[in-house]
């Protein structure tokens, strides 16, 4: 070993190598390849798939799920499994957004995101400081958030006269919605946080082994809280995007985001045990599911089949993940 000390400097020095087909990355790689294969096959065999209109509808779904999956991935990577309060956060965010929209778009967005920060802070604080079970905490949070939303809105649709269609439904080019830039921005920011910032690194290490992290003096509480804050922030952002579609807020908007986001994270190849995975894995997972869902819809399959496919995909990736984890340990 010591004879290689003088070895030439090389790119392999990067601190996170693992090629595309290493056990760590194989699932993420497989999903990316599947996306390409599926898109090609669907363009040939599914009528209506290869059109600009359809591209746009796939991208809209990808954005709404991908944005929250990007945030949720941080919670998963930090070793806290997942959150079941995403839908609730997005729902209440549509209401906050529509309520404040009359004061202008920027104040509305800022207020909504601020609400997201608070919701994330409370949950992260409970999990990180009070050491509560992350799943149950988020279930409780979801119930409280929905209760607050129902109490505030009375179930009514809140509407605003200020129209923000450019954000909700607008396109840069036919087939490419404006929202795609939001997704890209979130993706880049979250990825930067995870792979370049100190807290992001700490988050990953905590997810790999929280005991070692504790003995290494890493900032476990802060990292946990920040992961939750970002996750809730992206959920709130997704609420903004939904609310912007028709300048309306309603508690039933955003339903189903929880499972879609979890499925995207798991399918994309973020390890449920924590520590492994990148933000763009989760976003690819969202794209993958959006394409499957789109094909099913175009083929005339309904909600139930979609749900079953989603569940099957989650179970399959959990099983695959377990097998890969064993491979990795060998």
């Amino acid at each position: 070993m010591s004879q290689s000390v003088t070895a030439k400097p090389s790119i392999s020095l990067a601190l996170s190598s693992s090629g595309m087909f290493s056990p760590n990355r194989i699932q993420a790689t497989a999903v990316r390849m599947l996306i390409v294969v599926m898109a090609l096959l669907a363009s040939i065999f599914v009528e209506g798939f290869a059109s600009l209109q359809n591209l746009s509808s796939i991208l809209f779904v990808t954005v709404s799920v991908g944005v929250v999956a990007a945030g949720l991935a941080l919670v998963t990577i930090s070793g806290n499994l997942f959150m079941l309060s995403i839908s609730a956060t997005a729902s209440i965010s549509t209401i906050v957004f529509a309520s404040v929209l009359d004061f202008g778009v920027i104040p509305a967005i800022l207020t909504t995101l601020f609400v997201g920060v608070i919701l994330g802070f409370l949950q992260g604080g409970a999990v990180g400081v009070l050491k509560t079970n992350p799943i149950i905490t988020s279930i409780a949070a979801s119930s409280i958030i929905m209760g607050l939303g129902a109490w505030y809105s009375g179930g009514r649709t809140i509407t605003s006269d200020v129209k923000v269609e450019w954000l909700g439904v607008g396109h840069v080019l036919p087939g490419i919605p404006n929202q795609i830039f939001i997704l890209l921005a979130v993706l880049i920011a979250a990825e930067f946080f995870l792979s370049r910032m100190r807290l992001g690194r700490e988050l990953q290490l905590i997810g790999i082994n929280s005991n070692t992290a504790k003995l290494s003096g890493l900032r476990i509480q802060r990292a946990t809280i920040v992961a939750y804050v970002i996750a809730a922030l992206t959920a709130a952002l997704s609420g903004v995007l939904i609310g912007a579609q028709s300048s309306q807020g309603n508690l039933s908007l955003g339903a189903g985001l929880d499972f879609s986001a979890i499925a995207a994270v798991l399918v994309g190849g973020v390890a449920i045990a924590g520590g492994h995975g990148r933000i763009y894995d989760a976003v690819c997972g969202a794209l993958f599911l959006a394409i499957i869902g789109n094909i099913l819809l175009l083929k005339g399959f309904s909600l139930d089949i979609q749900l079953m496919v989603k569940g099957a995909v989650v179970v399959a990736s959990v099983m695959l993940g377990a097998v890969l984890t064993r491979k990795r340990k060998k």
Partner: protein
């Protein structure tokens, strides 16, 4: 006198605009009518509402007004009320035929009639948008299997075939009474049929709002489409006002609550009344928006 009589209203939830309005108007009308009343809501959970029926029976009121979460799931509860000898008014959701022996009065919409009116509204819309009497549309229905959705769709299709055989229905997708689901369903229909589509009928204004978003996302100008919804809900009111939606068929909480209270008063006074009392359901267009009491109250 009626002042000593008590009524319990069991409502599915107050967390929907329609439900909240209903509750508001009900409280106002019932207070004016002068009987004592309590209201209970169940978070849209049939098991919970069935449990609440047992609680309500325990209170032994003079009448129960039940707005069933689910017209099938509450039949056993209606039987229990009947057995307990408490007069029962079913409100809003038309109950199944076989539950008729268990209740006294139904007040609420007539779904098939609403569907038929919608067909006329659509034909008007076609003319107004310059599509003439021929063209293609699709339909967004409610949650499959809900009687309201079935009735409205059935009435609409039958009447349309009769009065405008030139308008073809390209497809039909459930929107589950949910704006988002309706939007996704409409998105795929727009993807599949694109520019072929001249109009859309959604059995609820809220779902039609989702259709309008889907059209915008698909780069289709919604103002060119003949759009008809039902309910004159806030979304419908605004979209008609903005000139996007052509018409809606009124089915509003204002009359729904008023009719329920009236039925209760008659029942408490022992006056005779029809077993079925249907709400009026006029077509509402931009010119007649003031018919929308519910939406106006929230505006």
């Amino acid at each position: 006198g009626i002042e000593d009589k008590s009524v319990i209203l069991l409502q599915p939830t107050e967390e929907c605009a329609y439900c909240a309005d209903y509750l508001k108007f009900f409280k106002k009308d019932a207070t004016e009518a002068g009987f004592k009343f309590e209201t209970v809501t169940s978070a849209f959970d049939p098991a919970n509402q069935a449990n609440q029926v047992e609680q309500a029976i325990a209170k032994r009121p003079d009448a129960i007004i039940l707005w069933p979460v689910d017209v099938n799931a509450l039949i056993p509860s209606m039987r229990k009320i009947k057995k307990a000898g408490i007069p029962l008014i079913i409100s809003d959701a038309m109950p199944a035929k076989q539950s008729e022996p268990y209740w006294d009065v139904y007040t609420g919409g007539n779904s098939e009639e609403i569907g038929r009116e919608s067909a006329h509204a659509l034909v008007d819309a076609f003319k107004a948008k310059g599509h003439g009497e021929e063209g293609e549309i699709f339909v967004i229905t409610g949650t499959p299997g809900t009687p309201t959705s079935i009735g409205r769709t059935k009435g609409f299709k039958e009447e349309l075939a009769k009065i405008a055989p030139g308008i073809k229905i390209l497809g039909e997708q459930p929107g589950n009474w949910d704006q988002n689901v309706a939007m996704n369903a409409a998105s795929t229909l727009f993807t599949r049929f694109g520019d072929q589509v001249d109009g859309v009928y959604a059995v609820e204004d809220l779902m039609l709002a989702g259709v309008i978003v889907a059209a915008a996302r698909a780069n289709i100008d919604p103002t060119k489409l003949a759009l008809v919804g039902v309910g004159c809900e806030l979304e419908g009111y605004e979209n008609i006002d903005a000139g996007v939606q052509h018409a809606t068929v009124l089915s509003d909480a204002y009359s729904d609550a008023k009719y329920a209270v009236n039925a209760a008063v008659k029942l408490l006074n022992g006056e005779p009344q029809d077993k079925y009392t249907y709400l009026p359901n006029p077509i509402v267009t931009k010119e007649t928006l003031d018919l929308c009491h519910g939406a106006l109250a929230n505006y």
